[in-house]
Structure formats: structure tokens, C-alpha cells
């Protein structure tokens, strides 16, 4: 065996804290063992590695402007994420990355931003939201629109409350349905409904969408109705089963594109006509 210099070699990192977000999701704060920065940009992901359980792609949920600690919001969905949920602070895990094309910040600067997330999509979008908070001079205005299935499924409730209190951000969220025993008294309905409440300057507005596959088409239709047409106006991050993260394994291909390396962030016009993309 020789010293590692491999696309596939994970780097060790230490689990610093674990906190619950919902009954299914936890937030993991991590740091590379060598103390270096992850070096990510908002919108990128890492491959999380646990020996014996292979790897899973996870979006980085905080901004690179927040120091060397990085955060992952992970839903318990299978064996690897189940094992991760059982880990305690101090545990060692591996990561590869960061990988993928990030949100195109150059194209967003100076614009009124519509940051739209559904479900777990708030995790990668939170990285961009924090970046906007830390660099307020770069953006004209920031609207955050978030939809979850139920009040219990809302991610980052403390952040949502803080963003709503912020004078620099306009944050709105909604849930699809309210259980009978809930004391939730916020908005209900699907995401496009939040869009119709906004006063936008469509000529100077860009949208960023991250969410589950069924979210894209109705939200895009509403954005177009509001006047966001033409190229480089709507950016979206697609979810796929990335296994290698470097464009080799084939599991995240979308026609001739590879989601892990050509994406996961795309301009709408790059993928809209591709079968199975949206």
C-alpha cells in the first residue's frame, strides 16, 4: 500500500456538535482534522464517508464566510445516514470534496434575489443566505421563500425566526398542511402562493431554486408569470444520486450532463429541454 493521492480518498474530519432540526433531520458541525478550511462555495456538496457503509452526497449548509467549521443537515433515510445520526461529538468521519458547480455568485451580484427552497433544499440554500447576510453590500435585496410539508418538517426554525427579524432579509415560509393538534399559526399552501405576495422588479431580479423534483415546474411557471424570462434569470440546484462526485460513476447523468460536476447548480435554460432533468 502507498500513501493516498486519489480522487476517492476521504479526508478525516471531527464531529464537533450534533443538534436536532426535526424528528428526521439533524445538523452536524464538523471540522477537518488538520484544521484547514473546507474551501467550499455556496451550493457545493461533499461525499460523506463512513467505513463499512460507503458514501453519500450531502450539501454544505453553511457559508464559507463562517470560518473553518462546516455544517451538514442530514435526513435519516438509509443505513449511512442512520449510522451518522447515532454518532456523538468527537467521532471521526471521512469526507471528499467539496464538489460541483456552486451558485453563480457573479451573476447574482447587484440583483434582487428570490431564494426559494422546498423541504431539504433549505440546507444548501442556507449557505447562500448566510453569504448574503455576510456580504449585504453585494445584493440589492434578498427574499427567502421556503415551503415544508408540515410545521414539524420546517428546517432551521431558529434561522427562519432570525431571518424574519432581520431588516436586510425578507423571509416567508409556508407549510402544505397543518395537523389537527398543531399550534402553528403561519402560512399554509404551496410555495407559488408566497411568490404572488411579493412586489418584484422583474427586470433586476434573479431566482435560485432548490427543492424536491415536484417543486420545480410549478414554481418556474409562477416565476415566468411574474416576468422572470430570458436567459440567466433562474438558477436551480438538482438532486441526484451522486456516488463518486467527480463525473466518473454515471449515476447522476442527465442526458449528456453529469449532475455532480456540470452541476448540481444549473441555469434553467441549460437543463429545461433535457429529458428527466425537471
Amino acid at each position: 500500500m502507498t500513501a493516498p493521492a486519489s480522487l476517492y480518498a476521504p479526508r478525516p474530519c471531527r464531529l464537533l456538535t450534533v443538534s436536532g432540526l426535526t424528528p428526521q433531520e439533524k445538523l452536524f458541525r464538523l471540522q477537518l482534522v488538520d484544521g484547514s478550511s473546507l474551501g467550499h462555495q455556496p451550493g457545493q456538496f461533499i461525499q460523506l464517508s463512513i467505513p463499512g457503509l460507503t458514501e453519500a452526497p450531502i450539501s454544505v449548509a453553511n457559508s464559507p464566510t463562517r470560518g473553518t467549521v462546516f455544517e451538514l443537515a442530514v435526513r435519516r433515510a438509509g443505513r449511512l445516514t442512520g449510522a451518522l445520526h447515532k454518532l456523538a461529538p468527537g467521532a471521526l468521519i471521512g469526507i471528499r470534496g467539496p464538489f460541483g458547480r456552486p451558485f453563480q455568485l457573479d451573476a447574482l451580484r447587484g440583483k434582487q434575489l428570490l431564494l426559494i427552497a422546498g423541504g431539504c433544499g433549505l440546507a444548501p440554500l442556507r449557505s447562500l443566505i448566510q453569504y448574503c447576510q455576510d456580504r449585504p453590500e453585494e445584493f440589492a435585496a434578498v427574499h427567502i421563500l421556503y415551503g415544508a410539508r408540515s410545521p414539524a418538517d420546517l428546517l432551521f426554525k431558529d434561522d427562519l425566526a432570525a431571518w424574519q427579524r432581520s431588516e436586510r432579509l425578507d423571509c416567508r415560509y409556508t407549510v402544505d398542511r397543518i395537523p389537527a393538534d398543531s399550534c402553528y399559526d403561519g402560512e399554509t399552501g404551496l410555495l407559488p402562493r408566497l411568490l404572488s405576495q411579493l412586489e418584484l422588479d422583474p427586470a433586476n431580479c434573479s431566482a435560485v431554486l432548490v427543492g424536491p423534483p415536484p417543486m420545480y415546474r410549478p414554481v418556474i411557471a409562477e416565476l415566468r408569470r411574474l416576468g422572470l424570462s430570458g436567459e440567466r434569470r433562474i438558477m436551480l440546484s438538482l438532486e441526484r444520486q451522486m456516488r463518486c462526485g467527480v463525473g466518473k460513476c454515471g449515476h447522476c447523468s442527465i442526458e449528456h450532463l453529469t449532475c455532480c460536476s456540470d452541476g448540481p447548480v444549473f441555469w434553467l435554460e441549460e437543463v429545461e429541454a433535457l429529458r428527466g432533468a425537471l
Partner: protein
């Protein structure tokens, strides 16, 4: 410089190669098929049916150790082979398959696991009267280090690289007219039927119900993918032994339901119809867009492997017939 190889010269060449490389040569099996196997002495079977298994598996094997992990976060990579491989007896289609995988795995970011096996490898092609029924195989155009040419009156050899030239040093020269009796015209890689199918796919002229009919015949065995010399998709598996974990990759098939299924349950290739279309579209349309070349070298292995007759050739013939019937 063209050389003439008598039987003793050819054996000498094999010995020269075997000194520095792990030499694999075509050998005939009891069922008449030929496989690339380690050279044990004697003459290889240069002429005959195409090699049963894809030669690209030497560089991208079905199961390959990527690395080892330990509990403390340590990572160790496998050592490269002591001797790089030498593949002898490759025809123009075998070499096209290797060139395709080289471009795929060695394009940045370079796949180090592929490079570990590919680095220093020697490729010896074959042309001339080496077809299954004695038909002429087309000349090779530099995709190999050394070209063996089966001519009517003996074996010739032509180097394409400095290594090839070095290996042929000392053998008798042959007059260029020794090739005169052979058809040395290069052929197009893809037959017309595949080119026509590719055009129909590019122009979105294939009716949807065509894919449904083909998909109904797919039994999802994955044989087409596993036989294909340019298929590169892989999954990853871990095996743990005490505190040590071996992480390996293994061939995967886009014809299997779980290929793209995500933890959320979302599956962009959630039906056999989508998966069948993807297999063909990927080779004939997506790969040319991505790599400038189709991902099919027309070797016919998927047609021979498919138990239900929907390999690339059979499917494309049916696709063209269907589109002709529809007037598209």
C-alpha cells in the same frame, strides 16, 4: 518500418514483451471462443472471432479495490501491478473501446484507479487476414504501439510508437509491397444502420411507444452493459474486516431499477422504458455531445450477450424500421 516475422521471430517478440510486461494473448477455448489470457509460451491465436470478453476490463475490472480505510481515518491505496499489462491481438474495435475509456477516465479529474492499471501498458493490435472467417480486418491508425498484420504469405509487424520500434529491432525488414495483396483501406467505425439510428434519436423522431415495446422485452440482466467495452458506470461497496475496510468499485448497469434511485425515493430512471431509451441515447447522442465520439464501437458484444435480442444492432435495426413505418 515494416518487418517480417517468422514463427521463431514472433516467439522472440513475445519473450521480449513478457520480460517487461504482464503479457496477455488471445487463446482459444474449447467452445471456439477466444479469451485474452496470460501467455504461457507458444503461439497466440491471432485470427478468429472477436475476443469474447471486452479487453477494457484489464484496465477497468469488474471488481476493483479503490482503497483501504482504518478506524483512525487512515487511508491506503493499492500498489500498482509489478509489471504493466501488455494486451496482444486487439482489433480496431478493441482499440477504439480502449481509446474511448482512456478519454473518459483520464480526462481531468484523472481517475487514479484506472491510471494505476493503464500506465505503461503496451497495446499490440492485429489487422489483415485475422477475421473470424479469414476476412480482412482494417489497418490500425496509431491507437496501438505495434501492429501485427496477417498477410497471405506470413506475419508482418509495423510499429506505431517508439516502444513498438524498439521491440521490433533486429527483425528482418519486409518490402512495403508485402501489403499489396491486402485491403488496407480504413473503414468507418459505425455501420450505416447505427448512424441512421443516431440521427433519428438526435432529431427526436423516435416514437415513445417504440421504447415501451423494447423495454417490455428487457429482463434487466445488465448483460449489455457488462459486455460493453465503453460502459464505465460503477457502484461502490465496502467490506469490513475488523478495523479495516476495503472500499471497492464494481460495474453497475443503467438497466437496473436502483441505478439512479435516490434516498428520497425519487428515481429519474424509474421505468424500464426510460432506462432502455437511456442506454441507447447515451451511446449514440449524449456521448458524441460530450466526447465528440459515439460511445458505441459496434463490436456487437451487447447483441451477443442479450438473451432477448435487444442489443445495439438489433435495436437500431428495429428503430429505423419503426421510424420508416411511421414516416418520420
Amino acid at each position: 518500418m515494416l518487418k517480417r516475422l517468422e514463427e521463431k521471430d514472433f516467439l522472440c517478440l513475445l519473450e521480449r514483451i513478457a520480460e517487461r510486461w504482464q503479457l496477455l494473448v488471445p487463446q482459444r477455448m474449447s467452445d471456439g471462443s477466444r479469451l485474452l489470457l496470460p501467455w504461457q509460451g507458444g503461439l497466440p491465436v491471432l485470427a478468429g472471432p472477436p475476443l469474447q470478453r471486452k479487453p477494457t476490463e484489464v484496465f477497468f475490472p469488474q471488481l476493483e479495490l479503490l482503497l483501504e480505510l482504518d478506524d483512525a481515518g487512515g487511508v491506503a491505496l493499492p500498489n500498482p501491478p509489478e509489471k504493466p499489462p501488455a494486451l496482444l491481438g486487439l482489433d480496431h474495435l478493441d482499440l477504439a473501446g480502449i481509446a474511448f475509456l482512456d478519454r473518459f477516465f483520464l480526462s481531468p479529474p484523472t481517475d487514479d484507479a484506472y491510471l494505476r492499471r493503464r500506465r505503461g501498458a503496451l497495446l499490440v493490435g492485429v489487422s489483415g487476414l485475422a477475421g473470424a472467417q479469414g476476412e480482412t480486418l482494417p489497418p490500425l491508425e496509431g491507437e496501438c504501439d505495434l501492429e501485427l498484420i496477417l498477410a497471405p504469405d506470413g506475419l508482418l509487424a509495423h510499429p506505431h510508437t517508439a516502444r513498438g520500434t524498439e521491440l521490433l529491432e533486429g527483425f528482418a525488414e519486409a518490402a512495403p509491397d508485402k501489403l499489396a495483396a491486402l485491403d488496407r483501406n480504413a473503414t468507418e467505425l459505425l455501420p450505416e444502420i447505427l448512424l441512421k439510428a443516431a440521427r433519428l434519436l438526435q432529431e427526436e423522431r423516435v416514437p415513445e411507444d417504440f421504447w415501451e415495446e423494447i423495454a417490455a422485452r428487457c429482463i434487466a440482466c445488465g448483460g449489455c452493459n457488462f459486455a460493453c467495452p465503453t460502459c464505465s458506470c460503477f457502484g461502490v461497496q465496502d467490506r469490513t474486516f475488523g478495523k479495516r475496510t476495503e472500499r471497492s468499485r464494481l460495474w453497475d448497469s443503467c438497466q437496473l431499477d436502483a441505478f439512479m434511485r435516490e434516498a428520497s425515493g425519487h428515481n429519474p430512471l424509474g421505468t424500464e422504458t426510460l432506462r432502455t431509451r437511456r442506454r441507447i441515447y447515451h451511446k449514440l447522442v449524449a456521448d458524441p455531445l460530450r466526447w465528440g465520439e459515439p460511445g458505441c464501437v459496434a463490436c456487437g458484444r451487447c447483441d451477443r450477450a442479450c438473451p432477448t435480442g435487444i442489443g445495439m444492432f438489433a435495436l437500431c435495426e428495429e428503430l429505423v424500421r419503426t421510424c420508416d413505418r411511421h414516416g418520420s
